[in-house]
């Protein structure tokens, strides 16, 4: 089979194939894997990454890397924890989302007004959000176990709804709204977009707010699942989100997003984690695996780009 055809096949079905192989291998090797429980487990552990991944897909398509969403996860969760006694669960969650959106706008303003590169700016705000989260919470997780219906979002119905809703909205924006076209244009060639009258700053602000909002939804879910306002949540969360986006086929340099790929990659990551959990692999080694996965995704992206340049 000649090389070009292999790569075309890989672009379309590669991830699906790997996912299939992994699932089959795990099902064969680990009896505990074959149960409905596994599917539910997959959904509940992957939902936050999936949802943030959708936002990150649009961000990277627009050429933006947000490294602060892990810290934002903690900040929003802490906010919810603190506000539940005052606003009730629903009110607190809405407030948390608002806080997240505002944080995203702050990121966007720093990048557009102070002309700092996205990943550097979000390195700084990462520290800010962590500090804020620790300060507001006093360094302790808020215990929400006693709050009625706190685990509402842990239910598979809600999870499925939120994941579907996020991807539906993101796909709507990406494929069906002029906004999506303009985001892609800015990521593909900011000068060309500007020359055509696209407001590049507005696109940047939007995409920062959007990825922060999706991260906030993920935070709400995690808060609900663990029933805590966690001040130390989200470590390596941004790594997972970026990994699934790049693994799913979104171009590193922007201009091309693959929402379906992100979802598939999230499933793959989730299945991998379940397998690693079943094999009693510790958290840090799981993160090592994710790091290697990210590097593999980057290498593949590099190869894809090299092929394009040679063609």
């Amino acid at each position: 089979m000649n090389e070009a055809r292999f790569w075309r096949w890989w672009d379309r079905y590669g991830l699906l194939a790997i996912l299939g192989v992994t699932v089959v291998a795990l099902a064969a090797g680990q009896p505990r894997f074959r149960s409905w429980y596994t599917a539910l487990n997959l959904l509940s552990t992957s939902a936050p990454v999936a949802i943030a991944g959708a936002g990150m897909t649009l961000a990277i398509t627009c050429g933006v890397f947000d490294l602060s969403i892990g810290a934002l996860l903690a900040l929003v969760s802490v906010t919810i924890g603190v506000l539940v006694p005052h606003l009730g669960l629903t009110g607190a969650m809405v407030a948390g989302l608002a806080m997240g959106g505002a944080a995203g706008l702050v990121n966007g303003l720093i990048v557009t007004r102070l002309k700092i590169q996205a990943f550097i700016a979000t390195l700084g705000t990462m520290l800010l959000w962590r500090g804020l989260a620790l300060w507001i919470s006093g360094g302790k997780d808020a215990n929400l176990v006693h709050v009625p219906a706190v685990k509402v979002l842990a239910h598979w119905g809600w999870l499925a709804l939120l994941v579907a809703g996020t991807y539906g909205l993101s796909a709507l924006i990406y494929y069906r709204l002029p906004l999506g076209l303009r985001l892609r244009a800015v990521g593909s060639s900011a000068t060309s977009a500007w020359a055509s009258g696209v407001n590049v700053n507005a696109m940047t602000l939007f995409v920062f707010a959007y990825v922060a909002l999706t991260a906030s939804v993920a935070a709400a879910i995690t808060t609900s699942q663990l029933a805590i306002g966690g001040c130390n949540l989200g470590v390596s969360f941004e790594l997972e989100a970026i990994t699934v986006v790049l693994l799913g086929g979104t171009a590193l340099r922007g201009g091309l997003g693959n929402l379906g790929g992100t979802l598939l990659a999230t499933a793959l990551l989730g299945v991998m984690r379940i397998g690693l959990d079943l094999a009693n692999v510790k958290d840090e080694y799981q993160r090592l695996a994710i790091g290697l996965l990210l590097l593999t995704a980057l290498a593949l992206d590099g190869v894809r780009r090299a092929r394009k340049e040679a063609a």
């Binding site: 490294l67 102070l114 700084g124 800010l128 300060w135």
Partner: protein, 339 residues
């Protein structure tokens, strides 16, 4: 302003240009302000303690300065610090009897160089942007640190090992002297060695560097290897200070190191920077953190302040540009007024 006559005089005058050394002014200001609030801050023992504290981030920041001048970022140094300190504690009992203390430190430094070469290979060979390649390697090194240590914190009480970081010479902490020595070495490397020139050249313009016959990929490998070496030294010293190594140490270390480099005035766009300024910024940061305890600032607020300072430091480029524009406009107005 009169230009000094001799070459030496010119060099000294350039070195003391206040615009380039503003971090020293900031340091002095901070010190004076905190001492005014709490006179015990100015005690000699406290000052020496601050100097000693500054060495760990400071030494790593020397390497990061070279990296940022080159035009890249290494986000993996926190995890690398943990890995190398674990490695040093694990190997120390076996290595030191054979190669001596100096040899041991050299071997750890070489290990750091090796990891750095790995980072560099990803950037130069696979053409992955440095920030994201090192983001991925961060997790690989962290996992390796856990693997090497078996997930356990490690303790080492050997006298020779503890003497690395816990000694002092006439009251001045040895680590600080090492820091100063490495700062001098770093400055000389940057300004008086072909590699330093090549690093600056690529940071200024990779295209021009290529046209001038400089191998960008080889320079990339060298820069990341250097970052690894400096991180290794910081790791060994920190392990000596804390009597052991923890695989989970060093989270957000890279943020503080990058903050130090930026506070020192090195431009994030690359091409220009000063190791001496970075060293001063390391002392500044240590002073800031010490002042937090003296002024009883909430530890979490500390993080917010540092994050805020970081963002402010990042925007210095922009602010400097604004000040330049404002000055130019004033000049233009004055010219037009006098016509």
């Amino acid at each position: 302003m009169n230009e000094p006559r001799t070459a030496f005089g010119r060099r000294v005058s350039a070195a003391l240009d206040w615009r380039e050394r503003s971090v020293f002014a900031a340091l002095a200001l901070l010190f004076l302000a905190v001492s005014a609030a709490n006179p015990r801050f100015a005690a000699l023992s406290n000052v020496l303690s601050i100097l000693g504290d500054s060495a760990y981030i400071g030494i790593a920041a020397i390497g990061m300065t070279l990296c940022i001048i080159f035009g890249a970022f290494d986000l993996s140094i926190g995890a690398l610090l943990a890995l190398l300190s674990v490695a040093s504690v694990t190997w120390a009992p076996h290595l030191q009897p054979v190669v001596g203390t100096a040899g041991f430190v050299i071997i750890v430094a070489l290990a750091g160089a090796g990891c750095g070469l790995l980072n560099g290979a990803l950037v130069a060979g696979l053409r992955i942007p440095a920030f994201i390649a090192t983001l991925g390697m961060m997790y690989v090194y962290r996992g390796a640190a856990f693997m090497l240590s078996g997930g356990q914190d490690q303790r080492l009480d050997s006298a020779w090992f503890l003497s690395l970081a816990n000694g002092d010479l006439a009251g001045v902490p040895v680590v600080f002297l090492v820091f100063v020595g490495l700062t001098v070495l770093g400055t000389l490397l940057l300004n008086r060695h072909p590699l330093g020139r090549r690093i600056q050249a690529v940071g200024n313009s990779p295209k021009a560097a290529r046209a001038a016959g400089i191998s960008v990929s080889r320079t990339t490998l060298a820069v990341f290897a250097l970052v690894g070496v400096f991180t290794a030294i910081a790791g060994v010293l920190q392990a000596s200070l804390l009597r052991g190594a923890q695989p989970g140490r060093g989270v957000e270390f890279e943020l503080y190191v990058i903050a130090t480099v930026v506070l020192g005035g090195t431009s994030l766009d690359g091409g220009k920077g000063s190791v001496i300024n970075t060293a001063a910024a390391a002392v500044l940061l240590a002073t800031l953190q010490c002042s937090f305890s003296f002024l009883a600032v909430n530890p979490y607020v500390q993080k917010i302040i540092v994050g805020g300072v970081l963002v402010a430091a990042f925007s210095m480029n922009y602010l400097r540009g604004q000040v330049e524009d404002w000055r130019k406009r004033r000049q233009q107005q004055r010219k037009e007024a006098s016509v």
